[in-house]
Subunit: 243 residues, 2 copies
DNA sequence: GTTATAATACTTGTATACAAGTATACTCAA
DNA sequence: TTGAGTATACTTGTATACAAGTATTATAAC
């Protein structure tokens, strides 16, 4: 195991978290970043000793990560799957699917409160950009979309979001950290996209919505993939087998 | 706790299952059937003693059920949520959403193999109807749709299905058991709907697909709700609070 | 060298013990 | 009767022990 003592997941987001939560979040980041290569075989005992905790919280973590398709249980141990370009595209397929669904509901309701809330989040995002806080920017970016989704009261659409969210979070964290370093100018465009998004919701202009939705995702997706591919290159990505 | 020693979940489906799996499946059935009323407060210890197992498998079960929105964790214990009419509608919203997405992919691929597979499943369904095997019919019904969804190779659409599946399974099991008793004639219509479904996939007739999809769900949904409402009446349904 | 069998070192699933925290009930004072 | 403070009986989170099963390795026979 790599000897870096650095944690990838923001420590401040784990202030009230249990050991299990820490293992889940950090392990996910290590898998998605490629620090743990796909194809690696892991076991409860191995992870437990790596993180210096007992099997109980680890067991919990592996169950979660398996449900997120980050690892695949075998008869003995589990093989790390991680993300591929294809999977990242699939994640955005689902996001477009559910956000389109949500928008169709939103046009039939009062969105004043939502628009105000989104405007607030966007302003906070601008501040995080100004102070180059990649982690908090990622947090607010996710919150922006979660707020939209939460605005329609739909427990199963929300369930999909909640299942997708952790992987998205890791992906966006890694992407934004890189872009704050390498492509700071990206953020003016991201802000503009989000403004467009709010405008589409406010005016209930379906065409504008479709446009901003795809523009937003196409932009993010391309960049996330770039980041991801380079990350994988660094850790000489291993081809996953399809059991 | 009710003194019935009868299990709601088919025992034969649990032949190779762990104690944890048994607790998950049976607990889910008891919640959805209303045997455990919504609003009930449960704890790991309580369920453990009810099922005569230790806390370890129960802990696992409650985590799963929480992710399915069947229970809601509190500071101490968890409150049983269960299903409402609204939530059942929401489940079918999502099914229509993903099956429509899947269909759009299917029209662009070779569906011969899939159509053959679906025809086989449908014939098995007919046999289970003939022999009035409600549980196996439910199994094949779910398999039918899972086969369609699995036909496009999309891990995150499949993930949504997998998240939805257990609750669907319980719901369909309860519904079909009742209909085999009370509305046996329903099944000729169900078979016809599935035939239409296969036809829509084979001919790649989008209009036919939309029609059969909604017809299928509208039919099932109405009936499931009827069943569910009457079940709830039996157990004098408790209004859930929205914490 | 090859193959069959046995020993060993893993693996997961479950039970149990303990620690730390939270709600409830009880006691005592006013 | 009411209220503050404490004791008690819960709760979850984690560590650990053990059982049963699986893969690997070593050993022995040919």
């Amino acid at each position: 195991m790599a000897e870096s003592t650095e944690f990838l997941y923001p420590a401040k987001w784990l202030s009230k978290a249990s050991a299990g939560d820490r293992v889940i979040s950090e392990l996910r980041m290590q898998i998605i970043s490629g620090k743990i290569e796909s194809g690696t075989i892991i076991s409860e005992n191995k992870i437990a000793s790596d993180f210096a905790v007992s099997r109980s919280p680890v067991r919990e973590a592996l169950k979660i990560l398996a449900s997120e398709n980050m690892i695949q249980p075998k008869r003995m141990g589990a093989v790390v799957i991680g993300l591929t370009e294809k999977k990242i595209e699939e994640i955005y397929d689902v996001r477009i699917l559910i956000e389109t669904f949500v928008y169709e509901r939103l046009v039939r309701t009062d969105v004043d409160e939502l628009v105000k809330e989104l405007s607030k989040i966007l302003e906070i995002m601008k501040v995080t950009i100004k102070y180059r806080d990649a982690d908090e920017f990622s947090n607010q970016d996710l919150l922006f979309h979660e707020t939209i989704i939460g605005a329609i009261d739909h427990s199963y659409i929300l369930m999909i979001w909640n299942n997708l969210k952790p992987v998205m979070e890791s992906l966006i964290l890694l992407s934004m950290r890189e872009r704050f370093q390498e492509n700071y100018d990206d953020f003016t465009r991201i802000v503009k996209n989000h403004e467009l998004y709010i405008e589409a919701i406010k005016t209930k202009d379906r065409a504008l919505m479709i446009q901003s939705l795809h523009q937003n995702f196409d932009d993010v997706q391309g960049k996330v993939e770039d980041m991801w591919v380079s990350q994988q290159m660094l850790s000489k990505g291993v081809e996953q087998e399809n059991d």
